[in-house]
């Protein structure tokens, strides 16, 4: 049987309004069609809005590197650090070292028989590292990687710290002489070492593992590591770190100097190839993706997030704290040696799949208070926690078994840090 037909413009067409509709059907059916047409238009409009929203989100995925975290020129250094067997190759390993706020405060002069390490004074973090403590520690970390890489490449590396008293930026000379190739587990871990700012599991780090991390200090004079593992110690250290974090946030200059090294989008990462990134914050994949799709956060919003993470993740899930101690934290040589120890511990932890995060809020406040000539409660409280007369904190970190792997941080390539 032939069904009745209607004449209408296609749904969604510009001419499809009820005014234009002609029909040979009863009035009720025409009204139904009008409602249907209206519903159709509403549906099409809603779909358009939703697709527009998806368009914005998709563009953010594309533009902010949601699907290519850790990929691209800014991260090439992590893939290529073993390729060069010459002295220049030792620099490729050195630039992967831990360093404050990923400032990469180094310059290298490379010769056939030596590598000179210089501090780059333009890469300081201002009031956040008021006495250049972290600046020197980071250089010590790079020095350790450089020496390990020299050994692995068949060079005997002989280190002279601060070789030129007239030039405080000349922090080390590593003389290279031919020797047997001595690759090591620590060397092999250089490309896998990342600061892990994510949550750690509730599993304790066994004492024998801590002893093995202690053992890497052999040959480094004047520096030690003190472990905090008991619940009371963990609580006390955690509370002090949270207080220090809050003090930094409340200090606008420190907060501003810290925020200056945060790279909030992929363009900044590709352009600067340094700084802290969302990728390296230890967030879950979903939270990280959403954070990268949203607009960049303000300094104050970032500070609130940092304090919240410090309280609910960093201190809440730390299995242990390690504190590098020295007799005089203002001594640049001890800072460099302490940096070497810190790097060794981080590499040794990486070998054992232990996560490590540098937590320098306490020392950042101690040094800030010193430059402001104000009495530091953090210095006295830290000394009390250490309970080691004559020794003081150089740097602090937490360790534990990580829930998720740490992610890569951007690095400037070798040709940008050699002169």
């Amino acid at each position: 049987m032939h069904e009745p037909t209607i004449e209408l413009d296609p749904p969604g067409s510009a001419a499809g309004s009820s005014d234009d509709m002609t029909t040979n059907t009863p009035v009720g059916e025409a009204e139904s069609m009008t409602r249907r047409s209206m519903l159709h238009r509403v549906g099409v409009g809603a779909a358009t809005v939703v697709v527009a929203g998806i368009g914005l989100g998709s563009y953010r995925v594309f533009d902010n590197g949601v699907l290519d975290a850790g990929d691209g020129t800014a991260y090439d250094a992590w893939a290529n650090w073993r390729a060069d067997g010459t002295p220049l190759g030792t620099v490729a390993a050195a630039i992967l070292a831990a360093n404050p706020h990923n400032t990469q405060p180094w310059i290298f002069h490379v010769a056939a028989d030596s590598v000179e390490l210089f501090a780059d004074p333009t890469r300081r973090t201002g009031t956040l590292d008021a006495l250049d403590r972290e600046h020197h520690i980071g250089l010590g970390c790079a020095l350790e990687n450089l020496v390990l890489a020299a050994d692995a490449r068949g060079y005997q590396g002989t280190v002279t710290l601060l070789p030129d008293p007239a030039d405080p930026t000349h922090v080390a000379t590593v003389a290279l002489t031919a020797g047997p190739s001595a690759p090591s587990a620590l060397h092999d871990a250089i490309g896998d070492r990342h600061s892990n700012r994510g949550p750690y599991t509730s599993g304790a780090v066994p004492i024998e593992v801590l002893d093995s991390l202690d053992a890497v200090a052999a040959g480094l004079d004047g520096v030690n590591v003190r472990w905090f593992t008991t619940p009371a110690d963990l609580a006390a250290m955690g509370a002090l770190i949270i207080d220090a974090t809050r003090a930094i946030i409340d200090d606008e200059l420190q907060s501003t100097d810290s925020f200056a090294w945060f790279r909030n989008n992929r363009d900044d990462i590709d352009s600067h190839m340094d700084g802290l990134t969302l990728d390296a914050q230890g967030l879950s994949p979903v939270v990280l993706a959403v954070a990268k799709m949203l607009p960049a956060t303000s300094r104050t919003a970032g500070d609130s997030f940092w304090l919240d993470q410090t309280r609910t993740v960093h201190t809440a899930t730390a299995a242990a704290y390690g504190v590098i101690t020295v007799a005089n934290p203002d001594d640049p040589a001890l800072r460099l040696i302490g940096g070497r120890l810190l790097q060794r511990i981080h590499l040794a932890a990486t070998v054992q799949r232990i996560g490590l995060q540098h937590m320098n809020q306490i020392t950042e406040r101690i040094d800030r208070d010193a430059t402001l000539a104000q009495r530091s409660t953090f210095a006295s409280e830290m000394d009390a926690l250490l309970a080691q007369p004559g020794r003081h904190v150089l740097s602090t970190f937490r360790i534990g078994y990580p829930v998720r792997a740490g992610r890569l941080s951007p690095r400037r390539p070798v040709n940008q840090v050699t002169r």
Binding site: T5, P10, S13, V51, I54, V61, F62, V290, M293
Partner: protein, 237 residues
């Protein structure tokens, strides 16, 4: 088609041919020496890939220009699609080759404007309105491809490109019925979603694409654009 429309199409085809050719040259320059002339090419991190993309899009414009010149009587749908494509390429490539795109981009925008004039605003508007949902589906496919090309993993890139391409194909073939549409959409998007579910945006995109795909496969389509269609009542809704 009137004589003036034919003349307009001839002008449009020439503008597009020159713009597309210059675009291909700009793409070649970006792919080969883009990193050596960053002030001209936009200082792009992936200059080779962006150069190749520009070459491909420029070539597609050349194909469209040739079709405009040789087609005896272009349909309103063809003219509308050509107008939009010229404009899209003009905008997209402004982000791929920096200043090298200034002249090709301007020529393509002019070509889009002339093609639109030849098509006529009422026809253009009617074709766009008639195919709006299919257009949204195609746009979702393009967005999927946009996300895919930024992925680090080659497998994810491939899955995303296939997914996006299939969504675009589904938009074009939306007359083929609901079951086919569902199969195509699911098969197209599931692998990419599985690889990128944590972005939230790809699962949402898939759900929306599925919904739009189902609607477009059910929607009665006109027999000819620009006229009211005579439809069987049972097939409506």
């Amino acid at each position: 088609m009137t004589r003036s429309s034919s003349q307009l199409l001839s002008v449009s085809a020439r503008l597009a041919a020159i713009g597309g050719s210059l675009g291909v040259v700009a793409g070649v320059a970006q792919a080969t020496i883009g990193n050596r002339i960053p002030d001209w090419t936009g200082n792009k991190d992936s200059h080779v890939a962006l150069g190749l993309l520009t070459i491909a899009l420029g070539a597609s414009v050349l194909v469209a220009a040739r079709a405009l010149r040789t087609a005896p009587v272009p349909r309103p749908e063809t003219l509308t699609a050509t107008t939009l494509w010229f404009a899209i390429v003009a905008v997209v490539c402004s982000t791929t080759v920096g200043r090298l795109w200034i002249i090709p981009g301007a020529l393509l925008l002019a070509a889009a404007g002339v093609t639109l004039a030849a098509c006529g605003w009422p026809s253009f508007r009617r074709v766009v309105a008639t195919n709006w949902l299919s257009g949204l589906l195609g746009l979702l496919g393009a967005l999927e491809m946009l996300m895919a090309v930024s992925a680090a993993s080659a497998i994810t890139v491939a899955a995303g490109l296939v997914a996006g391409g299939m969504l675009i194909a589904a938009a074009i073939l939306s007359r083929s019925g609901r079951r086919t549409m569902v199969i195509v959409l699911v098969a197209a998007t599931v692998p990419f979603v599985a690889a990128t579910w944590w972005t939230i945006i790809t699962p949402v995109l898939t759900v929306v694409a599925l919904a739009i795909g189902l609607v477009t496969s059910r929607t009665v389509r006109p027999r000819a654009a620009g006229r009211g269609a005579r439809l069987d009542r049972q097939s409506v809704g």
